[in-house]
């Protein structure tokens, strides 16, 4: 079923919307949640919560593209659930590794003064991504948006793991430079 039709079902308040969403995007949302939570049951709950949030927010929203809208909800829910479960300790899954890697991008506080809101930061990310070569951008987002393991990215893109790691390292370096250049404190 096409996205617009699924959205129409949400608008018509037909519960078939949930079943159609699950058939089309269940696997996609599950993979996002699983990479963060590394737990089958939690991931399933997260995906179900995603459908509930979609049900509550469509209408009035008419998301286009639907995949990114659902993916974003799943990612936020999974990150919140992770935080709830791991308030103190860092467990399994890709998130602790991803957070460690992102530490490389944090500019030195001595070099930055400006405190930036999240919207401006998202705008900076858009500009940063627009300038990356397509393959590097895809690798960067697979790692830090979808939180896919490096091994999986390497397999999907037919690259060696070290090539993926190198590409990520360079991208993080570029991001750090951009944050410093714009004087952004985190």
């Amino acid at each position: 079923m096409e996205d617009q039709q699924i959205v129409d079902l949400y608008w018509a308040r037909s519960e078939a919307a949930i079943a159609e969403t699950d058939a089309k995007y269940g696997r996609y949302c599950h993979s996002i949640a699983y990479n963060i939570l590394f737990n089958e049951e939690d991931s399933r709950e997260c995906v179900n919560d995603t459908y509930l949030k979609a049900w509550e927010s469509i209408p009035p929203h008419r998301p286009d593209p639907l995949a990114a809208y659902l993916g974003r909800i799943t990612r936020n829910l999974a990150l919140n659930r992770y935080k709830y479960h791991h308030a103190q300790i860092r467990g399994d899954g890709q998130l602790p590794l991803v957070l460690d890697e992102l530490h490389d991008c944090i500019p030195d506080p001595k070099t930055t003064e400006q405190v930036t809101d999240d919207l401006a930061l998202a705008d900076l990310f858009n500009r940063f991504l627009a300038e990356l070569p397509k393959e590097t951008r895809m690798i960067f987002l697979r790692r830090y948006w979808y939180m896919s393991p490096v091994r999986e990215i390497a397999a999907d893109y037919s690259l060696t793991e070290s090539k993926v790691k190198m590409s990520l390292l360079r991208a993080r370096g570029k991001l750090k430079k951009l944050l410093e250049k714009e004087g952004i404190a985190l």
Binding site: M1, E2, Q4, Q5, D8, W11, A12, R13, S14, A23, K24, Y25, R27, Y28, S31, P59, P60, R62, D64, P65, A67, A68, Y69, G71, R72, R75, N76, L79, V98, L99, D100, L102, H103, C105, I106, D118, L119, L121, A122, L124, F125, N126, L129, K134, E135, R137, M138, I139, F140, L141, R142, Y144, W145, Y146, S148, E152, D156, Y157, S158, L186
Partner: protein
Amino acid sequence: MSEERLLNALGQVDDQYILEAAPGQTPGKNRAWIKWAALAACLCLVLAAIRIVYRSEPNTAPYEGPEYEVLVFGYSDSAGAADLEAEYLFADYEKYSSVQPQSQVTLQIRNKTYIGYYQNTQYRSYHYYPVYEYFDSENNVFTIDHTGKLVSFFWGKSTADGKKLSQADCLQIAMDFLKEIVDISSYEVEITEDSVSECYVAEFTKYAGNLKTADSATVTVQYNGDIYSYASFMLDKVPADTKVDDIEPAAVTASINKRLDKIYADAKTKYDRIEYSEPSVLLSITKDGNRCLVCYVDVRCINTAGQFEAVVSESINLVLFLP
């Protein structure tokens, strides 16, 4: 924590980047293809050999009557078993791209006046014409089509007090509402209760002969009598007197199955079994004003391992052109 802030900000990047990098997408050049092609080819040969020995196709008498042209117009994005490509586009961009939607419209419905401000233009699935979306100052969202007909309206849950009305009363409210938009005498209506959302859902469908058309509307009425939402599809676009007695059901089934068999010919060598659901069929109208059947089919590609079955499920949308 700074890293988490970065992670959260990254969550807000443009949709285009999120979709571009979604698992399953590869960056342009598909290097893996070359590496695996030889192996896949060998595997296919082995599977084909096994299948010749172990599988037998069901014996059905071949259909030999007239056939209809069938094209693919959509499929689920999880569809991977077949190499699919949309072959037909319902939207008539050429005709409507020059139509400039009004930046502001005044809508009068249910004794109320709404002033809407234009937001965007959309083409719904199997619709040849665009719908224009408007917001009013109270954040009500509604859409109208190119003729100014109301296509959808979302009011949302009202907290107005009131006792629970009967199903018949709510149906009357839904009918009175739709009468303001279209002549409902040619629609059949079915009403169901949704006790979780505390509302009644009235579904209006137009039939041509005994064939369900794509021309339909749904009105959701809360227990207190307030309308929660309204959505319509191809409303008033498929005449109830559209000729249908010349449509040969056996030819429809045979044409759809033949097309599916062609689409899944390659997949049939990779899976133990491929099953098609009974197609759901709606009579509709194309941009040329001709009759067509819009068909939805769920396809299950199954591999068996002992007592277990691994199922890849996808859906495919077909349009069957009627002469």
